[in-house]
Symmetry: C2
């Protein structure tokens, strides 16, 4: 179970280590969206995404004995970098199991942040087997990317900040659009808002064709995506909502929203032009939903959690073509 | 005269209207610079640059009678947008005199922010004559871009934030690198640091070949640039330091630093990759100085004021080529 109390406790442990991201605005985005748009740029978080929050929360919640043995994670993306840096800052070792065909930049970054990268052959090896062998051999604790109460609690600290910041700006009622993969960030935010800003409602945002959470919410049952890959929003492609996250999402969230790859890229371009921030495609689906699904949103203001900015220059260059 | 008291008074007037920008960090930049690098991203300020601070300060300092008559500014760039938005938010009119060959995007933006754009022919007309005629006809107050005490006071609020934020991070002694055109931002920050963080020292950063402030500081006399244009760092190309700003710079700043256009573009690319922020070339010379002039800097930490992010996609795309 993840609860508001766990989120508040995580916020105390994160104090002074996490970056409190601001709420950014632009009159140009307000105009496009037909309402006030407040963007929380988690791309400015350490390691370029919100994942650092959950990683810090989980590592700092371990017993001292367990923590000293080190942690392990499976990820080729944002979770890997978050765990590697959070572990290094705790002075402990981390093993990150990554596919050998992961982009060299991500492998290099994870190593540079202090992670011990163990590569596996996606076609012939099981990352779970490799990971379990290493974990039992060295006594490492597995940090799951979303279906992990202390990870959800860490991501939920984003929601505590939103509640405080929105209230300071006089916003008591609004939809909060959240980029959603396995649902760790969305469920954490939803719990935080339930406790501290009941007029704000979390809504998951996904790429079209990978809208498992939207369909799961609509049917009330966990639904799968047909494909595991094949969309530019790589950071948020997960097969289905988590067993821990889904009941929270179902209880607290408004309907899901989904956007095309092209709309995500356009949102990246507009974030560049109007907010001066760098978003990755999967971190821009929330802004794209605010701009291009405005009829599905209610109220005078909308809050957008832009969850990450770890994109390649090539992909970013393609997004900028929407401006020319 | 600009003084610490004026900056503190400006900070009170700006409270709740200006965005307090954070100090961003990346272990990758620390590694490159050979010391801790703390970046203050004023590109995230309203209108994409620090200029909004000075504009708000100057407009809010006017008497109610003068303010109601409106303001006027000459600028095709960041100052124009800052004045237009600050005026609109005060509910008053602004006239922005811009050359007719200014980029259409800048003209459109200034209009969209509420400015009345008056175009003039750079070859055959004098913007001063046009401006003075309009000002006397309508009773408008001219808001100068830097040689204006209340503008300097507004830019100086950046320095108050740096003093507070650096102290909270345990940094009492460091160089503060500031992108420098006419010297409004640099002199304001220098005054604020003198009062609130005497161990922090402002240092102006400029493009090579347009290093009038660096040479003026070195010789103790105001020096001119040979050319008025012809460098990608357009936002900070000014013929010479201001009459009001230079004595402040001379009294308080450390030696100037200068970087090549290529180094400014590389700094833009690294800010994209490591901080997820968008800088314009003129807003990146401070970061470039931290990364590529490290032998000219002392101490375990350096603070970098990244002053703006209003760049075209084409220029940004060129900067990203440094990563491939």
């Amino acid at each position: 179970m993840s609860t508001l109390e766990m989120i508040e406790a995580a916020a105390e442990r994160l104090q002074g280590h996490v970056r409190e991201t601001p709420l950014l605005t632009s009159p140009f985005l307000d105009e496009l969206a037909g309402r006030r748009v407040l963007v929380k740029p988690e791309c400015l978080q350490h390691t370029g995404s919100f994942k650092f929050r959950g990683a810090w929360s989980a590592i700092s919640a371990l017993s001292e004995v367990d923590r000293k043995r080190g942690v392990i994670a499976y990820s080729s993306g944002n979770h890997a970098q978050g765990v590697a840096l959070a572990a290094a800052l705790h002075g402990i070792s981390s093993v990150i199991v990554m596919p050998s065909d992961a982009p060299q930049l991500k492998i290099d970054n994870t190593r540079a942040l202090g992670g011990e990268v163990v590569l596996y052959d996606r076609a012939n090896e099981s990352r779970e087997e490799i990971g379990e062998a290493l974990a039992s051999e060295r006594g490492l604790t597995l940090i799951r990317p979303y279906d992990e109460p202390q990870v959800i609690a860490g991501q939920g600290t984003t929601g505590l900040e939103i509640a405080r910041q929105a209230s300071a700006m006089g916003i008591e009622k609004a939809d909060v659009l959240v980029c959603c993969g396995g649902g760790g960030l969305t469920s954490g935010i939803a719990l935080a808002l339930e406790g501290h800003a009941p007029g704000l409602r979390a809504r998951p945002c996904e790429p079209e064709g990978f809208d498992d959470v939207k369909r799961s919410l609509a049917t009330g049952q966990i639904q799968n995506n047909n494909a595991a890959a094949g969309n530019i929003c790589d950071a948020i492609l997960t097969p289905q909502p988590g067993d821990i996250t889904f009941p929270i999402l179902k209880r607290l969230c408004g309907p899901g929203l989904s956007v095309t790859e092209e709309e995500a890229m356009q949102a990246m371009a507009l974030a560049f032009l109007r907010l001066k921030i760098v978003l990755e495609p999967g971190g821009a689906v929330s802004l794209a939903s605010a701009l291009f699904r405005k009829d599905e949103i209610k109220g005078d203001a909308v809050i957008v959690v832009a969850s990450g900015g770890n994109t390649d220059p090539e992909v970013f260059g393609k997004a900028l073509e929407f401006l020319t």
